[in-house]
């Protein structure tokens, strides 16, 4: 199964969605973007709840635009589950099921045995979402759409259900679009991630590409990278470039075609910023090293977030540091540190605009 959107456009008053071109194979595409960016519109267009102004949506060559939603074979799991409140969990699933043994099969798969005879208002948020998922899967859809199914759940349940979904997605081989505004959920569940901004697809790629090679400042910022600086390319080689950042020259590895302008945004993911004691021996000799001073630190639980003011250059760099490193270096405000940034940890985005 292949889902193909081409030139799909929809205008709502001030908001313009598209034109969007997108191909989804038998994979999970995580659709990530801020609220109001058009994520739900994308799903509504594919499901048939909203008709596009123009463009085509094909499923294995079959045109879906113009078909009523009941004839599309597109399954959708709604944000709050949208379970029928006057039916028990079992009746909800049976209503959709194509064969009667599907109910028990899905109940086993999604561990719903205990709640089948209860009505939606008595179910917890996590149970509701599992029933909603079972109900959608009971129709054996050709495409699966999920609209922020975990957003209303508490953190521990969200994490558990996310792990369960990960396993489930491995077993179903249909194009799946998973809408979320949470970067962690997107990277955990998506084979690819599509970043949506103001009704357009800003970047589509594998989670690691989107995280480490953002194509715009927006993507970088939205995926948790705040180290974005104005830089100037002053020299290029076949597989690298020298970029001037403040009064520092940094070496970075890049393909020349990436950088077609000399004014660039220098992008360094906080998790790729190495922190060492000021007197530490050189490890990677090709890496960029600068010295700096810790100006602020924040314990974020599984890691520390520290701000380092870089010597010779009015630049503050954010870095993620694992607790063992933080404790070994006895970091505190005012600590002198050596900052090590590998050449391939520096990513350049052409231009400086948001």
């Amino acid at each position: 199964m292949t889902l193909e959107l081409s030139g799909v456009r929809k205008a709502y008053g001030q908001f313009d969605f598209g034109p969007v071109d997108l191909t989804v194979e038998e994979e999970v595409l995580a659709v990530l973007g801020p609220s109001g960016s058009g994520k739900t519109t994308l799903l509504s267009l594919i499901a048939g709840i909203v008709a596009p102004d123009s463009g085509s949506i094909r499923l294995d060559g079959r045109e879906l635009v113009g078909l009523p939603l009941e004839d599309r074979r597109v399954g959708m799991v709604f944000q709050e589950g949208a379970l029928f409140p006057h039916m028990t969990a079992r009746e909800n699933i049976a209503y959709a099921a194509t064969a009667s043994d599907r109910v028990d099969e899905l109940a086993t798969l999604l561990e719903l045995g205990d709640v089948l005879d209860r009505t939606p208002p008595t179910l917890s948020g996590g149970e509701r979402q599992r029933v909603a998922l079972a109900r959608t899967l009971a129709t054996d859809p050709d495409v699966l759409l999920l609209d922020e199914p975990l957003s209303s759940l508490d953190a521990p349940i969200r994490k558990r259900l996310r792990d369960e979904l990960h396993g489930l997605f491995e077993s179903i081989e249909i194009p799946t679009l998973y809408v979320t505004h949470d970067q962690r959920t997107a990277t955990a569940l998506g084979d690819r991630i599509a970043i949506v901004r103001d009704g357009d697809l800003e970047q589509v790629g594998s989670p690691s590409t989107v995280l480490t090679r953002p194509t715009s400042r927006f993507v970088a910022r939205f995926t948790g990278n705040e180290n974005l600086f104005d830089g100037t390319v002053i020299d290029r080689t076949t597989d690298g470039a020298t970029v001037r950042l403040g009064e520092r020259d940094l070496q970075c590895r890049t393909t020349a075609s990436d950088i077609h302008t000399s004014t660039v945004t220098v992008c360094i993911h906080p998790s790729r910023v190495g922190i060492e004691a000021p007197c530490a021996a050189d490890g990677d000799r090709t890496a960029n090293t600068v010295t700096g001073t810790v100006t602020r630190w924040l314990n974020e639980g599984s890691e520390y977030r520290i701000d380092i003011e870089i010597e010779a250059g009015p630049i503050t760099l954010a870095a993620n540091v694992r607790p063992p490193t933080f404790e070994r270096l006895a970091l505190e405000n005012g600590s002198e540190v050596r900052v090590v940034i590998a050449q391939d940890s520096i990513h350049l985005i052409p231009g400086r605009e948001e």
């Binding site: 048939g48 009523p68 939603l69 006057h86 959709a96 959608t136």
Partner: protein, 271 residues
Amino acid sequence: MATGSHPNRSGTGTFGFDWLSVALVLGGVLLLYYVVPLVSLFLSVPAGEVLARMNDPTVVDSATTSLLSASISTVVATLFGLPLAYWLARTDGAVTKVVLAVVVLPLVLPPTVGGIVLLTVFGPTSPLGEAAIAAGVPLTRSLAGVVLAQTFVASPFVVVTAKAAFESVDQTLEYASRSLGKSRWTTARNVTLPLAGPGILAGITLAFARAIGEFGATMMLAYYPRTMPVQIWVAFIELGLDTAYPVAILLVLIAAAALLILNTVATNPWE
């Protein structure tokens, strides 16, 4: 400044005077005003005498006419009103507002004016009325006339109440049903109607209660066959108050039954 005699902020002053008591007294008077005449009606005539007069042909005939015509009117109002109510509930815009205003018009129009309006279309001198008489189904002074009058006045209750009931059903549930491969009709039958059911039943009950009590428009369109309200008026004018009691008591009982339905199986729209 002497402030001792002023009521304080909670309304309780030196005279033990507070607003809650005032509300209770005023409201109580109003409640008595509703209940006392009803009780008085039942006390005015000995129960045995009322029961004996229930067999009077005029009482039986008018009750039959009323129950039959109100039932037909309610069915017609439901058949034509539910789709309109659904459309109103699921559409927004200027057209919707205009349509809703038209629907509410019979509710605010004096019933006798409603009767006059209907006579201009269905009256014996109108083209439609003449054609109907020629075909042997006169639209005035007939059961058809009663039904026309009652439907005009009562059907807005179905539309307005059912509209609110449909609006209370989350449209996402309908999308969910259809995305599961169910047609619009299957979705309506299994999702929308069951969820809106109690509200729709309230609308149907209100329409029936209004139809059975209809007097003004019915008088204009169909003095015969006499419905219960018309019979009450005729009895009162010709023979005095006493003879109007049995039918009035019947109507009170029907109203009570409607209230019972509203407060049990239906969703009381005013709660």
